[in-house]
Amino acid sequence: MFSLEGITTATQDWLLIKFNPTIALAIECVIVILLSISLFALLGLVLVLMERKVAARIQIRLGPNRVGPGGIFQTAADTLKLIMKEGLTPDTADKFLFNLAPFIVMMVAMLLLAPIAFAKNFQIWDINIGVLYISAISSLSVIGILMAGWASNNKYSLLGAMRSGAQIVSYELSAGFAVLTIVVLTGSLQISEIVAAQQNGWWLFKGHIPVIIAFVLYIIAVTAETNRAPFDLAEAESELTAGFHTEYSGMKFALFSLAEYINIFIVCAIGATLFLGGWMPLHIGHWEGFNHIMDYIPSSIWFMGKTFFLIFLIMWFRWTFPRLRVDQLLNLEWKYLLPISLFNLLLVTIIAIMGWHF
């Protein structure tokens, strides 16, 4: 059965036999870069198509169905069009920052890929402060957005960027607290250990109601962090036309929208890792037979399945809810999410200390 397990070790062993360690490391780096870039391209194509299809089904439409069977090449055709389009830079824009911004947003998204465990033993960098690293890097994306908004020299862009700044900075908090609940339960910041701790059941099921609340808070917070509806104030089509990327066109615009989708993928992957056991199959207590059957499904499929479930959930939000107003957005964070997550963290800590979880 195909699985990504073992491929990494096999490749490394082979490289170490053929080359000396330094060259082997360099080759590994190149392979990782190529893989992550192609993953980016693929994810961009798949997620945009998925969003359009999900939106269409919810809105009783068919969605793209002209390019290729069922429209599966629609996004590829769109990308081709965007590549051929001229990337305009406004006359009065700050040209350096304007052109730099999309790359910063992309870079942040790429950096976040490092500690994610895609399958058993398939991880770019199993850093021992994985969760902390993710929290730290993901807050950097606001710099790219602010840069885009400021450098465009457009008032809509500026307003959108300022909203985005306020929003990402506030929602970092409750996302961080939601992540902390799992850290408290696991006692480790390392992604692989968090996954390993869910060997006998996912945290969502093991951790009683507080973890479920933390999960809900996490989903809400990351929806806001990735600027998705109902928190898409930074783009707010009907208010600010397109928010911070109003002035962008062609490939630079494509990079922004690609980064948005990659960010969704990453936050959902992290959510799946923390709450739904990452690549860990569904294990229930001591049901040996059931657990054994579940182990037959490759770990990469488990991981992708959980991640795409969460992505679907976020898309479902987007196509159901109206947008919040900017002050309500901050109200929601500071008056509802933050107190609840603080209280929730306290509960989880008590549970962890008393060992009440399964």
Binding site: A55, I58, Q59, I60, R61, K155, Y156, L158, L159, R163, A229, P230, D232, L233, A236, E237, S238, E239, L240, T241, W319, T320, F321, P322, R323, L324, R325, V326, D327, Q328
Partner: protein, 378 residues
Amino acid sequence: MYNQTEIIKDTTELGPEGELVVNMGPQHPATHGVLHLVVTLNGETIKKIEPHLGYIHRSIEKMCESLTYRQFIYVTSRMDYLSSHINNTACALLVEKGMQIEVPERAQYVRTILNELTRIASHELWIGAMAMDLGAFTPFFYAFREREMITEIMEDTCGARLTMNYIVPGGLMYDIHPTFQNKVKAFIKQFKEKVVEYEDLVTNNVIFQSRTKGVGILSAEDAISFGCTGPVARASGVNCDIRKIAPYDVYAKVEFDEVIETAGDSFARYMVRIKEMNQSIRIIEQLIDTIPEGDFVGKTKNVLKLPKGEFYQRVETARGEFGVYIVSEGGTTPHRIKFRSPGFSNLSALSHMAEGSKIGDLMATMGTLDLVIPDIDR
């Protein structure tokens, strides 16, 4: 009043106190057309709104002066294109009143039913557009599904989906389609099933409620002094339903309630329209089975000539009071014609309503005003 350089200057420089001046429109997703709002912002807070009009001015009033009394009716469909039937009715009623043409009862019944169907169609579209302004895209498609049934009924009977030109002085252009009654009944059935969907999706949604409640408040006094009519004024507690005040066609014979809300905010305006749709259904239900047999058009002369004098007729469109004022010199064409369109006065209240609120509130307020730009600009 504003020359071109002034407008450009507004957008590139900050205001005297460092405010942002943002041009919303003429190309903007939320203005639903070519409305141009010069919005002065202090951060996210709105300090001043100035609507600039004229982007879609077609001088319809002047145009009508060269058209005969049969011809000028079709132009009025191009003003408030979402309630074109009602506009046409107003013009036909005026000519009938001026020339004392007797309209057969059948025509009156059909006109009333079609007017109410138009009102529902307009409100359906409005729900979709309003939800879209607030960032929810999906209700738009659900609302259009129901609206599609109405446009199909219109297509069957009038031959067009939007600008029907089905009403002529003296009655109707031709008789209703044989399937008309059945289709209307089928529509009523589906509408009653589906209207509850908006409750789940929009009305009861906590985000929608917090976006609209207490937003864009218009008091009854202000509503009157700005000349607001229709659902906008009724949401502020002003009795202004022309169907009740000055009944035309068979509105005097049917039972329906004038929907009044007192809060005057965006949510009240939303509720007025939702309830009005139900009242429209009620009117149609009373009439649809009792359409009398007979002629569909009264006896008219071949060439219509209004007697010398001034004539005014008002009707209740989906947006408010629509008035036609004609000065006749006794010829075959109007000497002077003036339309009182509801959108224009409703828009004038926007600045008053949205000042001091956030940009997001402006969308909620403007959405509930239900502006149709060709109606404002004519």
